[in-house]
Symmetry: C2
Subunit: 407 residues, 2 copies
């Protein structure tokens, strides 16, 4: 008898009829002899509706109260799911964050899970009940309701799978699985059977949003085997697991892209300690998340200065430019350049670790297409290049073909 944790997102539980269908699927899996734990999101649109109410009430709503408000969405989903099972003659019990003892830190709106005590859930499973857990919510040390931020239900599912030592954590979503690249962008994109946590993390941060980064990190840390699959199809999707298992004997596993970033370059920054911290401090103090950061060693005749570049989300571009322009003046940099007409193209693969020439092949492929590389950044299993945005599709296809990802 296997214990399976499943997670269904908001579009899968968006109506009474859809919740019934999910209940049918879960019951069928239980009948095959499995213990079932189901994590649900709020019905599609409900969280946004509640957030609108909160903002209508207060321009900068208190996050503690927002958590109390929006956590009702998942509470309604799980209660309705419980009723759906009952209407089909199957015992099910809904469990809220505080009942599942999903303990989090104090940061409302984006809490991290610090522990789970699954004794209640285990008791319910032992009585042969389907356990349906409200995703996205937890309880902090003060006994207050917290939420885990967007995509938090994925994290709930992975954390429960870990705490319950589940055989697998199935994430039902609106895509078939993880692809070698965006299928909308390249018809030769191929669904991967396996992908390692590390690759998934790099793909995710490179813009291939199938699951929230945080839930993959959690799964990696605790070795939770994830199965990403389509909620409306019975096909096998993609398994995310340890590297050994996930290896497909490939150097490059996928090509990802991200068109939602903007580049900021500070020219002729005095080359002395503390400059990078000063520049990025102004941006991070404003709550802006920086992705790529590039600083080359100072060269040139002038000697004593360097150019410093980084990327930020496009939505924060104007604010970041204003902040950086002021900082540049303070530190005596020459000027600030900005460009929000860029794309980041990344190739990801654990095989890169042990194979030389991957970067060269990437740069050559882009060069063959006449695409100029504006920035380069590398990690152990990823190489990212910033290019002009209009070449995104061309770059993705060329790289996909060059590394034969369709094979």
């Amino acid at each position: 008898m296997a214990l399976i944790v499943q997670k269904y997102g908001g579009t899968s539980v968006g109506s009474i009829e859809l919740i019934r269908r999910v209940a049918d699927k879960v019951i069928a899996r239980q009948h095959q002899g499995n213990q079932m734990v189901v994590v649900l999101s709020a019905m599609a649109g409900e969280t946004d509706r509640l957030l609108r109410l909160a903002h209508e009430m207060s321009p900068e709503p208190n996050l503690r109260e927002v958590d109390v408000l929006i956590s009702t969405g998942e509470q309604q989903s799980v209660a309705l799911f419980g009723l759906a099972c009952q209407a089909k003659g199957v015992e099910a019990v809904s469990i809220l964050g505080f009942q599942a003892r999903i303990e989090t830190d104090e940061f409302h709106g984006r809490s991290c899970i610090t522990g789970i005590d699954p004794v209640r859930i285990q008791n319910e499973l032992d009585q042969n009940r389907i356990v349906v857990v409200a995703g996205f919510q937890g309880i902090n040390g003060s006994g207050d309701v917290t939420t885990l931020g967007r995509g938090g239900s994925d994290t709930t599912a992975v954390a429960l799978a870990s705490a319950l030592k589940a055989e697998v954590c199935e994430i039902f979503t609106d895509v078939d699985g993880v692809y070698t690249t965006d299928p909308h962008l390249h018809p030769k994109a191929r669904k991967m059977r396996h992908v390692s946590y590390e690759e998934m993390l790099e793909l995710s941060s490179a813009g291939a949003k199938v699951m929230e980064t945080r839930s993959i990190e959690f799964a990696m840390r605790y070795g939770v085997r994830i199965h990403v699959r389509h909620s409306q199809k019975d096909e096998i999707g993609t398994i995310i697991s340890e590297e050994e298992e996930a290896m497909e004997d490939r150097i490059v596993s996928g090509v990802a892209y991200n068109k939602n970033e903007a580049r900021i370059t500070v020219l002729k920054v005095p080359d002395m300690p503390g400059m990078a911290a000063k520049i990025l401090g102004a941006v991070s103090d404003a709550g802006i998340v920086v992705d790529m950061i590039i600083q080359n060693t100072s060269a040139g005749q002038e000697g004593r200065n360097t150019d410093f570049s980084f990327t930020v989300p496009q939505t924060d571009f104007q604010q970041a430019m204003a902040l950086i322009t002021q900082v540049a003046e303070e530190i005596g940099a020459e000027r600030v350049l900005g460009d929000d007409n860029i794309a980041k193209i990344s190739i990801v693969g654990v095989g890169m670790r042990t194979h030389a020439g991957v970067a060269t092949k990437m740069f050559q492929t882009l060069a063959n297409e006449g695409i100029n590389i504006r920035m380069i950044s590398t990690s152990e299993i990823k190489i990212s290049c910033v290019i002009t945005q209009k070449y995104t599709e061309l770059a993705v296809r060329a790289l996909h073909d060059a590394f034969e990802l369709d094979k």
Copy 2:
């Protein structure tokens, strides 16, 4: 510094704008130097909407899951209220049933409060915060969410006022207070300044629904002083408290009526032990609540039988008639008569205890109007008569005038 518990019903918090207005009222009272605890119901219509969803999902929905579902209504109200206060620069904190440690028994959908541990609420008050508590909900010994049944937020407010030793529990509603009789029915109806718990209970059971009976019982048991008042007006309403204080030196305090009952009479019931239990057992086993019960001693030439009458809610009339017809046959009664075209008229007053002639005056007043009395039942502080329904308004006015309740 006084501690005040206030309760606002669904129509008072039915929109963002209405919640803002309630927040203004509460903040104003706090500014006068009071500690404020506010109990809210769900926004008007929300509980019914959620109940419809539950019934759409399951014809006989599991009550545990229904409680999980409908308790979200109050949760949303208190979060929005918290945000409303915050938007006005006032610290407020929402508290849910499990956080307020409102402990109940195991009966989902109609739980009774078994205890409250107000330590969290007291802590928040000590930090000068307005505490807004979700009404209607509690938590049972298994750690599950329960609800207290219709009107449950009144009970929450009274129970909190008791646990916190509040100076007063203010129940804001859509009426000005408790009237000597229904103002829609008699223009001379007068708002009472004071009414005793006992009178309020009898008035309530006689059809004058201002507050749920259960919350008044609770207030009486723990000596909680209640102030019923209009949510849109600043006027003083009616104080419900101990008899000594509430006495207005009147024999009769109010006239109530109830048009929602039906009478069933079993003729010539054999006059032997166990008959009453047999007749009422059939009805109560079916979950039907019986109100008045009348059995006269057997008289007449036949000697060995008696007539037995009782009233049930009109909605249960047909079912009760069918049950009783069968029982009558089994016990050898002559026949069963039913009448759902009745009204119960009651006069209520603690002064009755020590004054003779009140009943006579009531019967004479009705007789003067040519109204025939079909059944009579009395308690220590109430006399009820069943009459033909069309005379309801006439009877109420005549009794109100005869006992000079407008003075």
